[in-house]
């Protein structure tokens, strides 16, 4: 008897490979991923990547223009700000803060959001309406305004910014998880697990939750980008991270006064915000198309 | 002079060398005649009529030697001129009535739109005519239905409204694309009856696209059987049913329960319609044909006229003498 070799083309690709095929099909998403990797690299190795210390003031080089302009210096590739600090170094260190705020606030809202959503989905009579009403109330306030209100209570600062943004993005996770759970609960595989005697936590976390992850991952990317945007807005309003920390929004706020003299101090931090948010949104689009084709037309 | 005369119509989607969905089709319809086009889904029945209506968009390509309707070549007409005929002298009823009506507008609005576009009727005159039309298609309580929205109507009702829209400008040719397929069985007969009644009443020609041969037997005068984008047999109704020339027609007839009384199970034709990649070199039916000969696999037959119609087969089932 001969052993026939398996036809490779008939084997199912591994989920990861399949995902990457769908994701890499979207050129924008790959560009976004590339930019994000660059940013993560800068953030991780900021002290080594940045040519100068972010708060070191070169008093003789106030508002030096970027290198390609007249009066620019090779020492300061992107020029210096009003206190003579190297802009490039500040931007690189700013990437650190933005990513930290984004990551921390996503984690801090994703976990309670999923828990509340699961509870609301599994107890649609007992706890569901209460939780959902609470989320509706939170949604009645536009996200930035709610963040502003929270910071008004807690006071400005990095930690409070993270908390405010985490609280603000909570409702969308709760709603999304609940909707997904409600959809899955009617499926036969859940009934089967129930009949097999699965405990409630097992049913929640091992049976149902993995099948609700696709929209949650997409939402997490989207709220990552809006976290960066909101953090910068809070910083710009003077309610977020306080100077001299090199946060992009805070940098913009102090650059406002030099709008007539030094365009680079105004343009570059904003460009950094725009590019990183754009990169994440592009990645989010690619993720959504690859993970959850149903959401394709949603915004 | 026929009312409609189509010569060598081809429709393809995508590149110019793509496999045509409709392939060299000849078709004619006389004034006041009922012609049925029969075939499986994907055989190109609907696409042919969509091409005539000018409803094929890019990347679709429509080519024909001639597409003469009522003494005008529809292929040569541009936008505005075409729209003067389409919806007026030439109109169409579609398969699924539940999605064919615009959900945002009332039934009255959608009928009056046709009246305004083609007959210039406005206001009260249009409304009165719309009411007449609803009564003509036997909608009960017609007056109250004018202000109804499509979602408030049943499928049968919606199809009646669609028919009212299609006959609003008294067309010379009405195309009904599987008008009863999406409806309940009990409603199907009513709608067919209404269509035939209107056809006789207004003296219009009717092209009935269907895959239901039983309906054809009861309604049509002539039949065109299509397979994989080609007409495989043309014929008059009683003769074609009694003695089909083409193996495909025979297979279709055998699949009607009434025709196979006594048999333990319905006859079926094994296999499926050839797609883009498995198009045979010879006769398109050759992989499925029970009477296949070596010649059938190598050469494509042409549609040859015989004394009772025409068939695209090298070995017609009923021996015929060719007409020159």
């Amino acid at each position: 008897m001969t052993v026939t070799s398996l036809d490779q083309s008939l084997l199912y690709p591994s989920p990861l490979k399949e995902f990457w095929q769908a994701f890499s099909h979207n050129k924008g998403a790959v560009c976004g991923l590339g930019f994000m990797l660059l940013m993560v690299f800068c953030a991780l190795f900021a002290p080594w990547v940045a040519p100068h210390h972010p708060s070191e003031q070169y008093r003789d080089f106030l508002l030096t223009p970027p290198v390609w302009l007249e009066g620019g210096q090779w020492r300061f590739l992107l020029g210096t700000d009003e206190l003579g600090r190297d802009l490039l170094s500040r931007l690189i260190h700013g990437a650190r803060l933005s990513l930290l705020i984004g990551l921390a606030s996503v984690v801090l809202s994703l976990i309670p959001g999923i828990l509340l959503g699961l509870v609301a989905g599994f107890f649609p009579r007992l706890l569901g309406p209460g939780i959902m009403r609470l989320m509706d109330i939170m949604l009645a306030l536009p996200s930035l305004l709610l963040a502003v209100a929270i910071v008004a209570i807690l006071g400005p600062g990095l930690i409070n910014t993270i908390f405010a943004i985490a609280i603000v993005s909570l409702p969308s996770y709760v709603r999304l998880t609940r909707a997904a759970v409600m959809g899955e609960l009617n499926r036969d595989y859940v009934t089967a697990a129930q009949l097999a005697g699965a405990s409630l936590p097992r049913l929640m976390f091992f049976t149902v939750l993995p099948n609700c992850m696709a929209p949650l991952i997409v939402q997490a990317t989207l709220s990552f980008s809006s976290a960066i945007l909101d953090a910068a807005a809070l910083g710009f309003l003077g309610l977020g991270v306080q100077p001299p920390t090199p946060e992009w929004g805070t940098m913009l706020a102090s650059a406002r006064d030099y709008i007539e003299r030094a365009w680079w101090v105004v343009s570059l931090p904003g460009l950094a915000i725009l590019l990183s948010v754009l990169a994440i949104n592009l990645m989010g689009d690619g993720l959504r198309d690859a993970l959850d084709p149903k959401l394709k037309n949603a915004i | 002079m026929s009312l409609l005369d189509i010569r060598n119509l081809s429709v393809r989607f995508g590149a110019a060398d793509a496999v045509p969905v409709v392939d060299g089709l000849d078709l004619s319809v006389e004034k006041g005649e009922v012609l049925a086009i029969v075939g499986e889904s994907g055989s190109g029945k609907s696409v042919t009529m969509m091409a005539l209506m000018g409803l094929i968009d890019a990347p679709g390509i429509v080519q024909a030697d001639c597409m003469q309707f009522d003494n005008t070549d529809m292929l040569r007409l541009k936008g505005r001129q075409r729209r003067r005929i389409v919806g007026k002298d030439l109109s169409m009823v579609f398969q699924d009535p539940m999605t064919a009506l615009n959900p945002s507008y009332t039934v009255g609005f959608q009928i009056e739109e046709v009246l305004h576009q083609h007959l210039g009727l406005k206001g009260k005159a249009a409304r009165a005519r719309a009411l007449e039309l609803l009564e003509r298609v036997e909608i009960p309580g017609a007056a109250s239905r004018l202000d109804a929205y499509p979602h408030q109507l049943s499928g049968g009702m919606s199809q009646r409204v669609a028919i009212a829209m299609a006959i609003a400008a008294e067309p010379k040719l009405l195309i009904a694309d599987e008008p009863t397929t999406a409806l309940d069985v009990t409603i199907q007969a009513q709608i067919m009856e209404l269509l035939l009644d209107l056809q006789r009443d207004q003296g219009m020609a009717l092209v009935l696209i269907t895959h239901d041969l039983a309906v054809v037997a009861e309604t049509a005068q002539r039949v065109c059987v299509m397979y994989a984008g080609q007409a495989v047999e043309l014929g008059q109704v009683p003769t074609l049913f009694d003695a089909p020339s083409h193996p495909y027609t025979e297979a279709l007839l055998k699949a009607i329960p009434e025709h196979s009384a006594g048999a333990r199970r319905l006859a079926t034709l094994p296999g499926i319609v050839p797609g883009r990649y498995d198009r045979p070199q010879g006769c398109l039916l050759s992989p499925r044909c029970p009477y296949v000969q070596p010649r059938c696999r190598d050469e494509r037959p042409t549609l040859d006229a015989h004394e009772r119609g025409a068939a695209r087969c090298f070995f017609p089932l009923v021996p015929t003498t060719e007409v020159a």
Binding site: R133, L134, D136, I137, A140, L141, P142, S143, L144, L145, V148, A152, I153, G155, S225, A232, A233, L237, G238, L239, G249, L252, R256, I259, E260, V266, S267, P269, G270, L271, L274, V277, L278, N281, N297, I299 | M53, L55, R80, R82, R83, R84, V86, G87, S91, F94, D96, A100, N102, P103, S104, Y105, E113, V114, Q117, H118, Y149, H151, Q152, M165
Partner: protein, 336 residues
């Protein structure tokens, strides 16, 4: 239709009370002594402190305090600003029209341009124009608008000198507030050139505030339009011999606008949040700037009830959008 409205109203009331709970809690959560917080003074004399506790009802149990708060709100008393000693409601009313004017101008800009761009992109799917619209809208959607505003000021005001840098109107003009809407008031005042000047002041802020809604509306219109154009009823409309313009606008757009309208409504909340930033950049005297300044000055009565008022506004707008949605979509209107 009436029962539809009634059901929506029923949902409105608990949300409203929830928001009052939120703003009620706001003041109690601020670290520090509530009297000091409410009076805006540090180290209040103990006797005065006790009086203030009594007057503000802070010595009562929490639930009683909440009922007091609701009672005050019901009687139209929203407290007074610590800075100006003006009633919060009055300040709100003076500043609100400025925000509305800005928001309406932004929506007008975003709505017209967004719908047109979305429709054309859908009709020319896959074309250069389509890719351009999608790219620009994704960029707009990712835009930090406070930076965008600064860029526009840098370019148009500082660089080209086309538009003024800040405010609603030049100091030269003395416009008596009649409606609170500068465009209307300048017309009423009959001062030469005032209207044009007000318009000049409005353009940049409206563009900045309208950028994100524009991006969202263009994207949404495109995808809704693409979906609708595939519908059977579009084929029916074409088979009727209607002109392409009529098919696209009467039969297509009407249906495509239903989801766009909802997005439009959701954008109103985002618009108010954006107004906070836009008003700060352009020194636009509206409620956004008012709120931020109040936070900076620890003017808590303004913060508390300003937030309440804005939340109520958003709730009301969403309610209106729901109703409009019902009007636009007969299938929803007739739901029992």
């Amino acid at each position: 239709m009436l029962s539809f409205i009634a059901r929506r109203l029923g949902l409105l009331i608990p949300t409203f009370f929830g928001v009052t709970l939120l703003t009620f809690a706001l003041i109690r959560l601020i670290p520090g002594d509530p009297v000091e917080v409410m009076m805006g003074e540090r180290r209040v004399d103990p006797e005065m402190h006790a009086q203030a506790m009594e007057r503000l009802g802070l010595n009562k149990p929490l639930y009683a305090q909440y009922f007091d708060y609701i009672g005050q709100l019901a009687s139209g008393n929203l407290g007074e600003s610590l800075r100006s000693r003006e009633s919060v409601w009055k300040e709100f009313l003076t500043l609100f029209p400025a925000t509305v004017e800005l928001a309406l101008a932004a929506l007008l800009f975003a709505g017209t341009l967004g719908v047109i761009a979305g429709v054309i992109a859908a009709l020319k799917r896959g074309s250069l124009f389509d890719h351009g619209v999608m790219g620009i809208s994704l960029t707009g959607y990712s835009m930090p608008i406070f930076w965008w505003g600064l860029l526009l000021i840098m370019f148009f005001s500082v660089g080209l000198g086309w538009t003024p840098v800040s405010g609603r109107i030049d100091l030269l003009y003395d416009i008596p507030p009649v409606t609170g809407f500068m465009l209307i008031d300048t017309l009423l005042s009959e001062e030469q050139g005032a209207f044009v000047d007000a318009l000049h002041h409005l353009i940049l802020p409206a563009i900045v505030l309208g950028t994100i809604p524009l991006a969202v509306i263009a994207r949404m219109t495109r995808s809704a339009m693409l979906e609708v154009l595939r519908e059977d009823y579009i084929r029916t409309a074409r088979a009727k011999g209607l002109s392409p313009t009529r098919v696209v606008f009467v039969h297509g757009l009407r249906n495509a606008l239903i989801p766009v309208l909802t997005v439009f409504g959701l954008q109103v909340g985002a618009l108010l949040a954006g107004a906070v930033l836009t008003e700060t950049i352009f020194s636009w005297p509206g409620i956004g700037k008012w709120l931020i300044e109040a936070i900076g000055a620890r003017d808590y009565p303004v913060v508390q009830n300003g937030i309440l008022l804005i939340a109520c506004l958003v709730i009301l707008v969403n309610f209106t959008v729901d109703i409009l949605y019902g009007l636009a979509n007969p299938r929803i209107r007739h739901q029992k």
